[in-house]
Assembly symmetry: C2
């Protein structure tokens, strides 16, 4: 079952989505240190923060200092969120190193949840829709031939409940029709989920229906929140139904922190933990170029800075050990019980020293001997499977 | 895209998988209280603990007191893990209320990881395999016509690294062949993952290949650990490729705690958080019969008992609000930022009282008015979509 996955572009949102819901008093130096660490992981796209009103988002009040002090890394795209012209203007003063983020496609988008649109952006859904004719007119003037459709709060809302995928598709039909009337093709579809109502089944159904309806759409964006622990499964479900002809833009945060004060879940909102999601992708054969070990350093730094444990798992158990990575565990390690002992995957065997050792004789295994010699644990053919192998000592019954 | 899902049987493992890696001094009364709370959630299958050596698992030393003191609920199946004849004998003394757990099928199974087999069960893989002829002979004597195949550490090991699905399939081919020689059909396939090496792609590939190879296998068991945050996505991937003719047995723990001292990850191991997984299933239309609110009570009780926050998310953000459940959030709620404020979904609006309120005028929305009247937020047809609706006030541009 050789899977052919889409091209995935991953954007690290911890400095923005994460920090915006944490203590406003976290220092600039701490944030700059974390941002500089993120730059060294291999991540290609990092959001550094947002240029928004310090009155409602005091966590971003000192964003100017951060973008002045951090050390940009060549090859990394740094962006900042700006919600209005004033914000874009502020960001532009720091470009470079910032890249002024522009959607690759002019896009018609709105929130399916009118309440969240009003709470978060102070605009109604209808006001969002009323901007569409202008967006279309501008695209026509610029001679643009490919555009996007999009939705936020795509699958449900804490204030209005569930939105069936039928509603999402009706919205997309309408948006598509507007582009079609303007003689502009649609290539991209964006789905956001600020209130953590995604499920893998709904994300999968949405993408499958969009692709069936408009096969020319081969660019997808997913911004999934994780308040109900569905972001990783939903991201997988999306990769599962996209193919090598497709591009998927995905967002997440180291440790899985994040949220906004408007959705009603605060710090319980979160996003997919970057380290867990990228580690999954690597295992699937989707290259990320990211050093998971350095990413774990970033998670630990973030936890120290914000003062509590974050949601990700790979930062606690470590990545899946691999012979090729030289990080298989000692087969004679003693009991490992606590979370502190579990950090041996980075901090070394002294973390579990003194743990209970329950074996009378040291554990040995001919399989580990093979692996230590650079051989696979099992041969590749049925005949080579262990039961017939000379190297395998038969048990004494 | 109407999905037809398998029948899912869910087993709550918190009292066993969870408690076995926690402090051995947690009191019997606390455990009994938690077990009794679990009984009231609607869960149909609960593991109460294990009858194992108190020398190596002091957390289960007082299991006899627990099974004596807890209040069995009619209709709930209570089981206990026993790893040998002595353990089964001890458990039998409490049956009823305990059900002595028996695999529905005689099964050939072993660990793909010889090292973990030795560390965890003090037997080599070859010793596990050497029991197979006896299992087959017993099945023949009993006239059994349907049997199972199975594997533990199916996708990888902390001590040997990754196991390709090819290796798993080679093992299954061998097991299947042994049953076939004995004239016994195979209907069930079990895959365990004690060291958290599952990924959704590997689980999906494994199930698809088993089903393609042996279409008569329609019963699957998955025991997935979550040290790398892949258990929920993997469970979804399994449901995704199984159909209504299939049965899937799944295990997990409230809050997602769990692990063993032998795998090297200790408390960082975990399983899929029951509350998150079952909440997903309900959304997919797979009935669970479980009251998520009561399940969250159990998670909070478990967190109090073990003294730290657990891994699940629904216990922090609450379930996805639904109009039908009467739990939509107040559209004029103030900022919700902290995890404590986020508990308003159970504890009420006093949790966020005094939070910043950023709106000059109270937020109103014609959509919420509709929902409060029992109408769907959106009509079902394209014509009924909001932009043409009389009830929708047009924005003042």
């Amino acid at each position: 079952m050789p899977n052919e996955w889409p091209t995935v572009h991953y954007k690290e949102e911890g400095m923005r989505e994460g920090m915006q819901i944490e203590d406003a008093n976290i220092g600039v130096d701490d944030k700059v240190e974390l941002l500089d660490m993120l730059s060294e992981t291999g991540l290609q796209s990092i959001v550094v923060g947002s240029f928004v009103s310090p009155r409602w988002t005091p966590q971003m009040e000192r964003i100017d200092e951060i973008v002045t002090k951090f050390t940009p890394k060549a090859g990394v795209t740094y962006t900042a969120l700006a919600l209005n012209a004033r914000g874009v203007e502020r960001a532009r003063a720091y470009s470079p190193p910032l890249t002024i983020e522009r959607d690759a496609y002019p896009r018609l988008s709105c929130h399916l949840c009118d309440v969240f649109a009003r709470r978060n952006t102070n605009r109604s859904q209808m006001q969002e829709m009323e901007r569409w004719p202008e967006i279309i007119a501008q695209a026509q003037e610029m001679g643009i031939t490919e555009a996007g459709i999009g939705c936020n709060a795509s699958w449900g809302s804490n204030f209005l409940g569930e939105f069936p995928v039928d509603s999402l598709m009706t919205l997309f039909e309408y948006q598509y029709g507007l582009w079609e009337e303007a003689g502009i093709g649609v290539r991209s579809c964006s789905m956001g989920d600020p209130m953590s109502h995604c499920t893998p089944a709904k994300v999968e159904e949405s993408i499958v229906r969009v692709k069936e309806r408009w096969p020319e759409i081969n660019h997808f964006r997913l911004h999934l929140h994780n308040g109900r622990n569905m972001a990783i499964a939903s991201a997988y479900a999306a990769m599962r139904v996209l193919g090598p002809e497709d591009t998927l833009e995905l967002d997440g945060t180291i440790g899985g922190f994040g949220g906004c004060p408007y959705c009603g879940n605060g710090r319980a909102t979160g996003m997919a933990p970057t380290e867990d999601l990228l580690h999954m992708m690597e295992d699937m054969g989707i290259p990320t170029g990211v050093d998971i070990d350095k990413l774990v350093d970033c998670v630990w730094a973030a936890e120290r800075i914000i003062g509590r444990e974050l949601y990700g798992h790979v930062s606690k158990a470590g990545p899946r050990p691999r012979a090729s990575a030289g990080n298989l565990y000692d087969i004679n390690m003693p009991f490992v019980e606590t979370l502190e002992q579990a950090t041996h995957f980075k901090k070394g065997e002294q973390m579990y020293e003194g743990g209970l050792y329950p074996y009378r004789e040291p554990v040995t295994s001919p399989y580990r001997d093979r692996v230590d010699q650079g051989l696979p644990a099992f041969g590749t053919g049925a005949d080579e499977f262990p039961w017939n192998q000379d190297w395998l000592p038969k048990a004494e019954s």
